[in-house]
C-alpha cells in the first residue's frame, strides 16, 4: 500500500472510539478497508480503463495515477476562469464542469470499485456485523471520493488563494465539499433512474456509455479550454442576466460564494446561500432515507442477473433480432454464404460487444468534438462565409471528409480484436474454403456501419450550405474514404473478425497502420484539394476511386488461409 492510502486510512480510522461506540468491530473495519485500498491500487482506474494499452505489467499504484489525472482535470477546469466577466460567471461554469466531471467519474466507479458484488460471497458469510460492513463501505467511498476531489480542487484552490485571498479560497473549498455531496446525490438518483428504465443487464452498458461520455467530455473540455484562454469574446460574456440561470444548481453555489465573499447580502445572495447549504444536506438525507435501502437490493439484482439463466420468453415468438436494415444491407452488398455471414456476424458483434464500443466510440467522439471545436473556434469560418467563400468551403469540406475517415479506420482495425478471441475456434473447425469471404464480409459491415451515418452527417449540411455544385467533390471524397479503408484492410495484418487478442496484438502491423492513418488520407486529401475546381477531373477520379475500391475488395476476397493471422493456437 502506498503512502497516500496509508495516510487516508489513518485519517478515517482516527475516531476509533466513536466507531466502537457505534457497535463497529474496529479490527474488522481496519482489515476490510486495508484490503479494499490495496485492491483499488491494483485496479486500472477510470482513466486507464479507457486507454488501457493492456500492457502485461500488473497494475500497481493506480491510486497515484488517479490522483495525478484528477489534478490534471483540475487544471483543465481552471480554463473556466477565463470565461465570463466576473466571479459569478467563472464559478458557475467552473462548478458546473466540476459537478459533471465528478459525477461521470463516480458513476462508473460506483459499480467497478465501490460496490463489489463479490463482497456478498466473501465478506457477508463471515462473522462480521452489519454495522461494520456499512461503515467500511461508507469510509471506502469517502476515501475514494477524497482521492478524486482533493487533487481536482487543488488547482482551483491555489488559483483562489492568489486571486481572492484566504477567505475566498476557504469559501471555495467548503462549497466544493457541498457540491461533492450534491454530486453523490445526483449519482444515486441516476442509478435509481437507470435501474427503473433498463434491465440489470442493460445497466452495465449504460455505465460503459458513461465512461465513453467522460472521455469525450474531458477531451472536448481540453480542446475548448485551451482555445478559450486566448479568445477575448468570451471574457465579456455574462450569464447572470437571464433569470433561467437559477435552474442551474452550480449558479447557487457561485452566487453564494459571491455573496459571502463580498459580504453583499442582497435577497438573491441570501437565497443562494440558503439553497447551497440546504440542498446538499437535504439530498444526502434523501439518499440515506429513501435510496440507500433499496440500493443494495437493486445492486444485488445486477449481480444476480449473471448467475441465473435467461428466463424463457413466453408468449412472443423468439425471432432473430437481425434488423431489417442490416439484412437489407447484407443483401445489397454481400454475396450469399460466408461473406454474408461475416457481415451479419460483425454487424451484431459491433453493436453488442462492450469491448468494441469502449475502444471505438471514444475515438468517434474525439473526431466529432475536434471537428466541432475547429469550426467553433476558428474566427474566420462562419456559416455565411462557407456559402460565399469558395476556397474556405473547400478546405472545411475536405478536412471534415478526410478527418472522418479516421472513424472508419478505427472501426475496421478494432473488429479484429476481442476479449473472447478464443471463440475463434469456430472458424478453424468448420469447413471454410477461403477465409477471404469472411474477412471481406466483416470489413464491409464495419465500414458501412460507420460510413452511412458519416455520409448523412457530411452530405446533408454540405448540400444545404454549398448547393448542388458540391456533389462531384463530395462523391469523390466519400469514395476515397472507402478506398482508404479497403486499402488498409488489404495491406494491414489480416485477422478473422474478433479472433485476435488485443494484449499480444501484432506489433508488425503498427507501422503500416500508423502510415495509413496519417499519411495516406493526408496525401489523398492534398491531391483532392488541387483537383477540387476541375469538375470533370473530379468526376473521372471518383469513377477511378470506386473502381479501385472494387478491385481491392476483390483482392481481399482472395485472402488465403496462409496469410491469416491469429492469436488462436
Amino acid at each position: 500500500m502506498n503512502v497516500i492510502n496509508k495516510f487516508l486510512l489513518a485519517v478515517v480510522l482516527f475516531p476509533q472510539s466513536l466507531y466502537s461506540r457505534l457497535g463497529v468491530n474496529v479490527l474488522h473495519l481496519r482489515s476490510i478497508l486495508t484490503i479494499k485500498l490495496v485492491m483499488d491500487d491494483r485496479r486500472p482506474n477510470t482513466f486507464q480503463q479507457m486507454q488501457r494499452k493492456k500492457s502485461e505489467k500488473p497494475v500497481a499504484s493506480a491510486t497515484l495515477g488517479t490522483m495525478v489525472m484528477s489534478a490534471v482535470l483540475g487544471l483543465v477546469l481552471l480554463a473556466c476562469f477565463s470565461v465570463g466577466k466576473d466571479y459569478i460567471n467563472h464559478l458557475t461554469l467552473h462548478f458546473s464542469m466540476y459537478m459533471i466531471l465528478l459525477s461521470s467519474i463516480l458513476i462508473s466507479d460506483f459499480t467497478s470499485v465501490l460496490i463489489d458484488v463479490r463482497d456478498n460471497y466473501i465478506i457477508l458469510p463471515k462473522p462480521v456485523n452489519d454495522r461494520t460492513v456499512v461503515v467500511a463501505r461508507l469510509l471506502h467511498i469517502l476515501v475514494h471520493v477524497c482521492k478524486l476531489v482533493l487533487p481536482m480542487c487543488l488547482p482551483g484552490l491555489v488559483f483562489m488563494i492568489f486571486n481572492t485571498g484566504i477567505f475566498g479560497s476557504l469559501l471555495y473549498f467548503i462549497l466544493i465539499g457541498l457540491i461533492t455531496l450534491f454530486a453523490i446525490f445526483l449519482i444515486n438518483a441516476l442509478y435509481i433512474l437507470i435501474l427503473r428504465l433498463t434491465t440489470p443487464g442493460g445497466f452495465q452498458s449504460v455505465i460503459s456509455y458513461f465512461q465513453i461520455f467522460i472521455a469525450i467530455v474531458v477531451y472536448g473540455g481540453y480542446q475548448l479550454g485551451v482555445r478559450a484562454i486566448d479568445s477575448t469574446a468570451l471574457e465579456d460574456y455574462d450569464i447572470t442576466t437571464s433569470r433561467f440561470i437559477w435552474i442551474l444548481p452550480s449558479y447557487w453555489f457561485a452566487a453564494a460564494w459571491n455573496g459571502l465573499s463580498t459580504f453583499n447580502m442582497q435577497p438573491s445572495s441570501i437565497i443562494a446561500v440558503a439553497l447551497s447549504l440546504l440542498t446538499p444536506f437535504l439530498s444526502i438525507w434523501v439518499v440515506i432515507k429513501y435510496f440507500a435501502p433499496s440500493f443494495n437490493q437493486k445492486l444485488s439484482l445486477i449481480a444476480g442477473s449473471n448467475a441465473e439463466a435467461a428466463p424463457v420468453q413466453k408468449g412472443k415468438k423468439t425471432i432473430s433480432t437481425t434488423s431489417a436494415y442490416a439484412s437489407a444491407l447484407a443483401r445489397l452488398f454481400t454475396k450469399k454464404g460466408p461473406e454474408k455471414m461475416g457481415f451479419l456476424f460483425c454487424w451484431k458483434m459491433t453493436a453488442r460487444s462492450k469491448d468494441f464500443k469502449m475502444k471505438v466510440y471514444p475515438g468517434v467522439g474525439y473526431v466529432l468534438v475536434y471537428t466541432i471545436v475547429m469550426f467553433l473556434t476558428s474566427k474566420k469560418v462562419s456559416i455565411a462565409s462557407l456559402q460565399h467563400n469558395a476556397s474556405q468551403g473547400k478546405i472545411v469540406l475536405l478536412s471534415i471528409i478526410y478527418f472522418s475517415s479516421f472513424i472508419l479506420l478505427m472501426a475496421i482495425t478494432q473488429i479484429a480484436f476481442s476479449e473472447k478471441f478464443k471463440a475463434a475456434w469456430i472458424y478453424f473447425t468448420t469447413p471454410i474454403q477461403s477465409p477471404g469471404n469472411l474477412v471481406r464480409g466483416a470489413l464491409k459491415a464495419a465500414m458501412l456501419k460507420f460510413y452511412i451515418p458519416i455520409i448523412v452527417l457530411i452530405a446533408a449540411p454540405a448540400l444545404y450550405l454549398m448547393g448542388l455544385t458540391v456533389i462531384p467533390n463530395l462523391v469523390l471524397g466519400l469514395f476515397n474514404q472507402l478506398l482508404i479503408c479497403s486499402l488498409m484492410g488489404y495491406v494491414g495484418p489480416k485477422y478473422l473478425p474478433f479472433s485476435a487478442n488485443q494484449t499480444i496484438a501484432d506489433k508488425s502491423g503498427a507501422f503500416i497502420r500508423g502510415l495509413f492513418t496519417m499519411a495516406i488520407p493526408s496525401a489523398i486529401a492534398l491531391i483532392h484539394y488541387f483537383l477540387y475546381d476541375y469538375i470533370w477531373v473530379v468526376c473521372i477520379f471518383a469513377v477511378l476511386s470506386i473502381t479501385a475500391t472494387w478491385l481491392v475488395m476483390d483482392a481481399i476476397e482472395k485472402t488465403s488461409w496462409g496469410v491469416v493471422k491469429t492469436s488462436y493456437e
Binding site: 479490527l27 485492491m39 485496479r43 463479490r118 462473522p127
Partner: protein
Amino acid sequence: MGPIISLKNVYKSYGDKQVLKGINLDIYPGQVIGYIGPNGAGKSTTVKILCGLISDYEGEVFLKGINLKDDIIAAKSVIGYVPELAELYDVLTPAEFLGFMADLYNLDAAIAGERIIKMMSAFGLEGNIHQRMDTFSKGMKQKVLITSGLLHNPDIIILDEPLSGLDANSVIIIKELISKLSIEGKTIFYCSHMMDVVEKVSDRIVLIDDGVVVADGSFEELKQQQGNYSLEKIFSGLTAKNTVSNAAEQLMSAFD
C-alpha cells in the same frame, strides 16, 4: 447428540415466487450431506440461508444450537463456506486474501500465517503464495477458496460445487479431505450436480425439487426405495418427469 444443523419449516419467496416450501432437515455431527436437486430447486437459496446471506425467510434455522435469527455472528463463526464460481478478489495474492479471511474470523495472525503456509503447501501452491491470483487457473483459485473455508477450523463446512475446475489429482485430495474431516466430527454440506461424486462422498443424500425435500437417506436407502439404480437414474426418476429420455430421442429425430 442433538443435530448440528436444523431447519424447521423453512419457507422463502422472491416476490410471489415461492422457492422453498417448507424444508425440514436435521443434520448430525460428522455427517456428509450430499445436497442435490435440479437447477432452480432451491439449493443455493438453502445455502444462502445457512450462510446468513438471506435473513428474510420464514421458519427457524439452528446451527450448533444457535438460532440464526438470534445471533447470526456466532452462527457464522462456526461455518466455513466455499462459494462456487471461484468468487474471490483476484488482484490480491493468496497470502493477502487468506490473511484477510483470517482477520474476519478473528484468527490470531501468527497462527493464521502458519496455517496458510501449511495448507497452501499441501495443495502444492507454496510457490504461488505471493503471486496475484488474476493469473491463476480456475483450479488454483478453487484451492485458495477451499483453504479460506477451512482456515478457522469450522465445525460445519459448506461446499458449493467444490470440484469445478480441479484436475483429477486434486479431486482425489478433496475427496479424501472430506472423509478425513467427517471422521474428525466435522459436518459437511456438499452441494453439487455431479451425481457420481455425491454418490461416493456423502453418507446421506438430500434431494430437493421445487422447494421441497423429495428424498432423504443414504445411497443404500435410496436404492431400496427407488430401485437398484445409480444416483443419476434415481435423480432423474424423481425430478425430470420423463423429459430426459425423450429429449435424447427428440435430438436424434432432428436429423430425420
